[in-house]
């Protein structure tokens, strides 16, 4: 075993390093090294995230058209959008779509997670099957829904007619409210697995001893859910909800494949309207402005999830205040 002198000598030797070239010396500087290690990730972020985002924001302040670079026009795009009823319709649709779809996804997803958390035969298999709607490419499931909602060939209408419950086919996508509800239903169907599986993971981290203790104290199942499951699940619920809101708010594929924003633009979300104006319409500046207008909503939704649902004390294991 080395004595204290030897240990001190070894320490000195280490401190005296490096004696090599300036490159070696520079690389030995923890600050420089950390910077170098972060550089690849930072480059990726800059090139693929910051630059496109920055470009999008810049385009929103210009009158760029497809095939023609624009000039800076300040807030003109936003002023024009402010007076555009179609834009406001898209905003309200997006908010409505996000709120209802998120509520639906979380109510059903949590329920499903609770069911799956019980001991079931062939548990792993069932859990894998549950994920199918999430795994199937959105465009495929959207096409399936397009047929399910078809005014002439809908299987739902057909089944209800055969059962004698209705005498004419339901116009799922033909009136604004029907179309909105149908799209929300399709989005909920698609989103449930993500929520359910994430929450299931959260549920499994809750110690069974808490439930045992509660059971001994005579807590009802609702009380166990309200006072154990929900608070323990809250941190993960917040994260999952944030993601879910972001995904729903920026949804594009379902709407584009099923209604293209119709009838008469009443199911346009901000994302589909931005695309319609920017790419087929050629108004890149205006499309970018619509896309940028989504950012405040997204920030708000994210902040809401974090601050309202995931108060820090919970996350750090403290008690609710």
């Amino acid at each position: 075993m080395p004595g204290p002198d030897m240990a001190i000598a070894a320490e000195r030797k280490r401190v005296a390093q490096p004696t090599g070239s300036w490159v070696a010396r520079t690389l030995d500087n923890p600050g420089v090294l950390a910077f170098l290690f972060m550089l690849p990730a930072a480059t990726l972020l800059l090139v693929f995230l910051t630059y496109p985002l920055g470009l999008g924001i810049w385009l929103g302040f210009t009158d760029t058209k497809i095939g023609r670079s624009g000039v800076f026009i300040g807030l003109e795009n936003y002023e024009s959008l402010f007076q555009d009823s179609m834009f406001w319709l898209a905003v309200s649709n997006t908010v409505l779509y996000t709120v209802f779809a998120t509520i639906g996804k979380f109510a059903l997803g949590l329920w499903l997670a609770l069911l799956l958390n019980n001991h079931l035969p062939a548990k792993a298999l069932i859990r894998s099957i549950i994920l199918v709607p999430w795994i199937v490419p959105t465009v495929l499931s959207a096409l399936a829904f397009w047929w399910i909602y078809d005014p002439q060939f809908s299987i739902i209408s057909w089944a209800l007619t055969e059962m004698g419950l209705i005498d004419h086919y339901i116009d799922f996508l033909g009136t604004p409210n029907n179309a909105r509800a149908s799209l929300i239903a399709a989005n909920i169907w698609r989103g449930i697995p993500f929520v359910a599986i994430c929450l299931l993971a959260g549920l499994q981290t809750i110690s069974p001893s808490l439930y045992e203790a509660a059971a001994l104290d005579g807590a009802t199942s609702w009380q166990r859910f309200r006072h154990i499951t929900l608070p323990m699940l809250m941190p993960i619920l917040a994260v999952v909800m944030t993601f879910s809101i972001l995904f729903t708010f920026t949804d594009f594929q379902l709407i584009y494949a099923i209604t293209r924003g119709g009838p008469a633009g009443t199911t346009h979300l901000m994302a589909t309207l931005a695309f319609q104006r920017a790419i087929p319409g050629g108004q890149l500046g205006e499309g970018a402005a619509i896309a940028v207008a989504m950012i405040p909503f997204l920030l708000f939704a994210t902040l809401f999830s974090y601050f309202a649902l995931a108060r820090r004390k919970w996350q750090q294991g403290g008690s609710d205040d």
């Binding site: 497809i66 095939g67 024009s80 009838p263």
Partner: protein, 445 residues
């Protein structure tokens, strides 16, 4: 069933020809007549190579023959050509990017008015266009409008347009008391009512359907004398003519099959082939899928499928719309002569005629002589698509082509105006005023 069956019609071939003439089509001679005009001499650059961008096939023959023609060009001139088929929705942005950055494809078969969005990036094709015009009986006026820039020079040459004619089940039209589809709008409305009574209603797309939705709603407005803008690009959609068109449209809609509010482009094809509707508007594809179907029942339906032009409204002339492809060459090409030679080559009879035939008439011609292509007479049912480009108006009618017309179309302003009224959510006056506001955002100076 009364009237002719297709077989009867074929038996009296000459009679069929006379019939099409009566319907207002140009008489077809079954042969493309080309005048003896010397071709411009383009000295193809040594080692030239070309890249061509075109919309992906809608019918297989379109692509097969286009590639064969290109191959033949390579054999004749030694110029290597690469053809990229781009999906319909991506064609516009890709073309625009090429125009912006000055590289990429040399020749593009672009949509409608795309060349008018970057005229200064395009090679002058006047020499080729004038030669082709002289040789093949002249360009239709619509081709000149889409092809010529503001200075009268040809910046692009329309190669074809796909139109939506009325597609109908003859036996059901006969049952509704009509021998064929009436040419006036009053009788057309009566036909709609009768068809509905007989449970074989008509149906036109009212969802955001780029092809079928735009075609018929533009016809409706134009037929009544309405237009988005005047010749000076002043927005005039909020007019008594538009209101009259919308009132008529609403009456027509009341006799549609339920559910057309959400119809996208494929919906009417599906409903028609399933026997749900007796009449709709479409390209020739419905007839062809029936004719070539492996399902005996659907194949039998082809016998009963006929085509007719859209009825003529109070303006007294055809007011049809169509989707057009416009051939253009970018200035950034390293081989302008090879590109011009290529463009000339694909428009020549030896290439164009078989291409049009293989496209089963899906693309209708811009040059008058191609009315003589046998494709238009070998099956009388093709005739309704023969003169799409002779009769069609341009999107953005009566104004000029460019950013505003493209954006207005892409934003479905006319389409939405019609569907708002049909669904009863707006009165014709409110919808016209709303469309005026929306269009003015694009046409502001």
């Amino acid at each position: 069933m009364t009237g002719f069956t297709r077989r009867d019609t074929l038996k009296i071939g000459a009679g069929a020809l006379a019939g099409t003439t009566l319907l207002g089509y140009r008489p077809a001679f079954g042969e493309v007549m080309a005048a003896d005009v010397p071709a411009p001499k383009f000295q193809v650059e040594k080692g030239a190579e070309l890249r061509v961008l075109r919309p992906a096939k809608f019918v297989q023959g379109d692509e097969t023959l286009f590639l064969q023609n290109t191959e033949r060009f390579t054999q004749t001139t030694g110029v290597k050509v690469r053809v990229d088929n781009e999906s319909w929705e991506d064609l516009r942005p890709k073309t625009a990017v090429a125009a912006n950055i000055g590289s990429g494809p040399d020749v593009v078969l672009a949509w409608n008015d795309d060349p008018h969005q970057y005229p200064d990036k395009l090679l002058d094709l006047t020499e080729v266009a004038e030669y082709l015009g002289k040789k093949y009986g002249g360009w239709y006026p619509i081709a000149e409008r889409y092809g010529k820039g503001t200075d009268g020079k040809w910046i692009a040459m329309p190669i074809g347009a796909s139109g939506g004619a009325i597609v109908y089940r003859k036996s059901w039209i006969n049952q509704a008391g009509y021998e064929t589809v009436p040419t006036d709008i009053d009788n057309f409305l009566k036909l709609a009512q009768n068809l509905k009574k007989n449970n074989h209603p008509m149906g036109f797309a009212l969802g955001n359907a780029q092809g079928d939705g735009n075609t018929w709603t533009h016809w409706l407005i134009w037929a009544h004398g309405g237009a988005m803008v005047d010749e000076k690009n002043k927005v005039i959609i909020d007019s008594p003519q538009t209101v009259a068109a919308l009132e008529y449209g609403k009456q027509l809609y009341e006799n549609f099959i339920p559910g057309t509010m959400s119809w996208l482009d494929p919906s009417n094809n599906k409903a028609f082939l399933a026997g749900e509707v007796g009449l709709t508007a479409n390209g020739i594809s419905v007839y062809y899928s029936a004719k070539n179907s492996t399902d005996a029942a659907i194949k039998a339906m082809a016998e009963d499928i006929y085509h007719a032009p859209f009825p003529i409204g109070p303006v007294g002339k055809p007011t049809e719309a169509g989707l057009l492809i416009n051939t253009m060459v970018f200035k950034h090409t390293k081989y302008p002569n090879a590109a011009k030679e290529y463009v000339r080559f694909i428009f020549e009879k030896e290439q164009y005629e078989p291409w049009q035939k293989a496209s089963i008439g899906y693309w209708s011609h811009p040059l008058a002589a191609y009315s003589g292509n046998p494709i238009w007479t070998e099956d009388p049912k093709h005739a309704a698509y023969a003169e799409v480009m002779k009769n069609m108006l341009w999107y953005g009618y009566q104004g000029s082509l460019g950013y505003a017309s493209a954006a207005t179309l892409a934003d479905f302003i006319i389409n939405n105006m019609v569907s708002q009224v049909c669904s009863g959510r707006s009165t014709p006056k409110e919808a016209a005023a709303e469309a005026q506001r929306r269009a003015e955002r694009y046409y502001r100076t």
